[in-house]
Symmetry: C2
């Protein structure tokens, strides 16, 4: 998120402050989790006065919500080779890349360290993941249309199964996630999809 020296930031001082605060919020969330992130710690990190943050965002919930909405702009590539196995592999590697990025880590740690305590943050996180889950829809629809997957395959459920083993490594077993893991997740979900596990009647 930081810019190389000499790069002009778009907008005036307000826009610059906003960008610095969003960046600092994501960094705090990724390093300290939701509970330990405060408006004061964000202001200190961003190099702005805390009243500037309070004036604009009012509450930690709104600050975190806006920072995560900015995160949502990080896109996962949607492959379109027509080779279902390869497309799912590319998608899984995209999920891996997001999960292991700073913004992805911030979203993941927020999710699990305090989202329950704020309906506003929980809603933003739902939107964040929903935006990513829809990436798989065109791939699955194409595969169903030309008979490579059974009719009625639920693309959203398939995408959750694609992502779940990678989240599991990050969140539960605390193992590194590499391309080999992404490829296995893609192969597993393809086998399950072909067997009709995601068919909704």
């Amino acid at each position: 998120m930081s810019q190389p020296p000499g790069t002009a930031r778009p907008g005036g001082r307000t826009a610059q402050n906003r960008a610095a605060v969003v960046e600092a919020t994501l960094a705090e969330l990724a390093e300290r989790g939701y509970d330990q992130t405060t408006i004061e710690s964000v202001a200190l990190r961003a190099g702005v006065h805390k009243t500037t943050v309070y004036r604009r965002w009012r509450t930690k919930e709104r600050l975190v919500a806006e920072a995560l909405e900015a995160t949502a702009e990080v896109q996962i590539e949607v492959p379109d080779t027509g080779d279902l196995a390869l497309d799912l592999q590319t998608l899984a590697r995209g999920v891996r890349a997001v999960l292991t990025s700073t913004v992805g880590s911030a979203a993941v740690r927020t999710l699990v360290s305090g989202a329950q305590s704020s309906p506003e943050v929980a809603q933003v996180l739902r939107t964040f993941w929903a935006g990513r889950l829809t990436k798989v829809i065109p791939i699955v629809e194409r595969a169903v249309a030309d008979g490579r997957l059974p009719p009625g395959t639920d693309s959203i459920e398939l995408m959750k199964y694609l992502a779940a083993p990678l989240f599991h490594r990050v969140l539960v077993t605390a193992e590194p996630v590499n391309d080999k893991d992404a490829d296995r997740a893609a192969a597993a979900v393809l086998a399950a999809a072909r067997a009709g596990v995601f068919v909704v009647i």
Copy 2:
């Protein structure tokens, strides 16, 4: 974990205090997460003086570690019908039951709300999950031995894939987890295993 009135607790006062403190620790973890759980809040909840807790456990890390080790005594049933699909389904339903129990919630919330900050707690959690992961080994070994799964199938990896979609619902999408979800996870992992996704060369 609480006992009906009039039930004798095993052991003397020390054992009773220990049981009350362990129970209070799990309840605090499940409700407030690791970061917000303190020795003081546990003592208050358990109805013991905080110096009693400090004297015995010294640090929050040790207290949480011991409470989670007690959790590890909650067993998942290991099915043995010889029907692989049914055995995996029973196992998945067992994972679901643990995940949605108070002690399971405590372990899950601890895992994701502060385990990174304490090597001691992280180690206990690894042991906790490892103990559950091994449940699948005899089922998979039997299936490989009689040719229902490919030789070289990695039973631990299979078990992670069995559990991952259920954790994903609890942790990421905040959806309820019911037996239907467990059954789908079992069907997905069976299809992937048959396709050789978990074969380690």
